[in-house]
Symmetry: C2
Subunit: 218 residues, 2 copies
DNA sequence: GTAATAACTTAGCCTCATCTAACAATATAA
DNA sequence: TTATATTGTTAGATGAGGCTAAGTTATTAC
């Protein structure tokens, strides 16, 4: 098994690699708030364990083994978040910190039980997919709200870059997963969007926000 | 806050000190499965932090501060065990290992929620008292089954030295908390007891077992 | 009351995960 | 295309929490 620390590096690599597939030592260092030389030596250690591909002065890529391990940790994290929200009554903005700790528990039985109690969910409370027991998952191809056109009606299916503050902001605007949104117009100037949903007929969402909301077209 | 390791030392001291109030370095070493020199240096560290009283070549005693800290960890452990049994359907023999890990989580909110969901319980699934929010608790004075006399009828209220195997043994004999037992006789020779409960009219319990069962007289 | 045993302590070493300081390579901009 | 800035690497230190080997103090047995 891997150490608490190694697990955090794997998870960070997994999350950062989503777009490019490779991650610079610098990105990792910033994301983990750990100095570069430390990250550098840890990356070498992960390479020794065949969890990442690494060459001097080159970005890092997870190996298949590394992807699997990372996927399994993310699985535990997301199952936990779902459990905290659905079975314990936490808000979606409260669960990240706690799941961050619980994901490291060594008890397959515990996570089996959670999975079962939740009815084998496929997404977490923020709409992110939960990897399966082999560590694999697919992001069904959702669009960013910011890529949609006026006149379209869409359903909010996931939230990305989920920070505390952002989720609280969504709460305050009554923006929840599953919500139907109609796009009324897009402001040329700053990319902000005017949308309607529920009883709100003209809410404005900045580009910063609409880029973080994933939707399915209806 | 204290490290994971320090928390384990505090918890061990708390558990071992129950009878004598003081604990030898040797006992601690055996209980934690950590070599004496390591324990020795850790004890000094705890003394620096005013968590234990310590003099060279003398046993160790928790300070009031240390007792409080330890009590709060035990509280988290026992609340967790109760949660695992009552809300997640685990058996009382399965929860120790998991609680051992969860007790170290840093999230007051998480344990508040558990406490609330359980209706502020005062004992864990094995009948041990759950310390309050100041780390204090009282072992209501229960008697060992082994100290009872033939003819008495008692209620099983707690189990001590709870290992996996022992709890499984109790399961197999259908010995659960709350059970009424009548003591029929005690064997002079080896201290074993013949008791009746439920539909069983003459079950034999060895001294090893009856010393680990706490009862209240009826 | 001494000798043997058990318990305790000290000294010194190890690994893990972190750091800083200094140097090397690559990328960017003039 | 050379100068500068950014990114990456190496070397060496640190603190936590372990270990073994060797010596010291208590305790137990005779």
């Amino acid at each position: 098994m891997h150490s608490y620390t190694e697990e955090n590096y794997l998870k960070a690599l997994f999350n950062l690699a989503n777009s490019k597939g490779e991650v610079s030592v610098n990105d990792l260092s910033k994301h983990l708030a750990i100095k570069m030389p430390t990250v550098n030596s840890m990356v070498k250690k992960l390479a020794d364990k065949k969890l990442v591909h690494y060459e001097l002065y080159r970005p890092v890529r997870l190996t298949d083994k590394g992807k699997k391990e990372a996927g399994l940790i993310i699985r535990k994290h997301r199952l936990t978040e779902m459990f905290l929200v659905q079975k314990m009554g936490f808000g979606w903005e409260e669960v990240h910190e706690i799941a961050e700790q619980i994901e490291h528990l060594q008890s397959p039985l515990f996570f089996e039980k959670i999975d079962e109690m939740l009815g084998y969910p496929t997404v977490d409370p923020h709409g992110s997919p939960i990897p399966d027991k082999t560590g694999k998952f697919d992001w069904t191809h959702y669009e960013k709200l910011s890529d949609c056109k006026p006149g379209e009606t869409v359903k909010l299916v996931a939230v990305i870059h989920t920070t505390d503050e952002f989720l609280k902001f969504l709460n305050s605007r009554e923006l929840y997963l599953g919500l139907k949104l109609k796009i009324k117009s897009v402001e040329r100037f700053d990319g902000s969007m005017i949308v309607s949903y529920n009883k709100k007929t003209a809410e404005s969402l900045s580009l910063t926000v609409s880029e973080r909301l994933l939707v399915a077209k209806l």
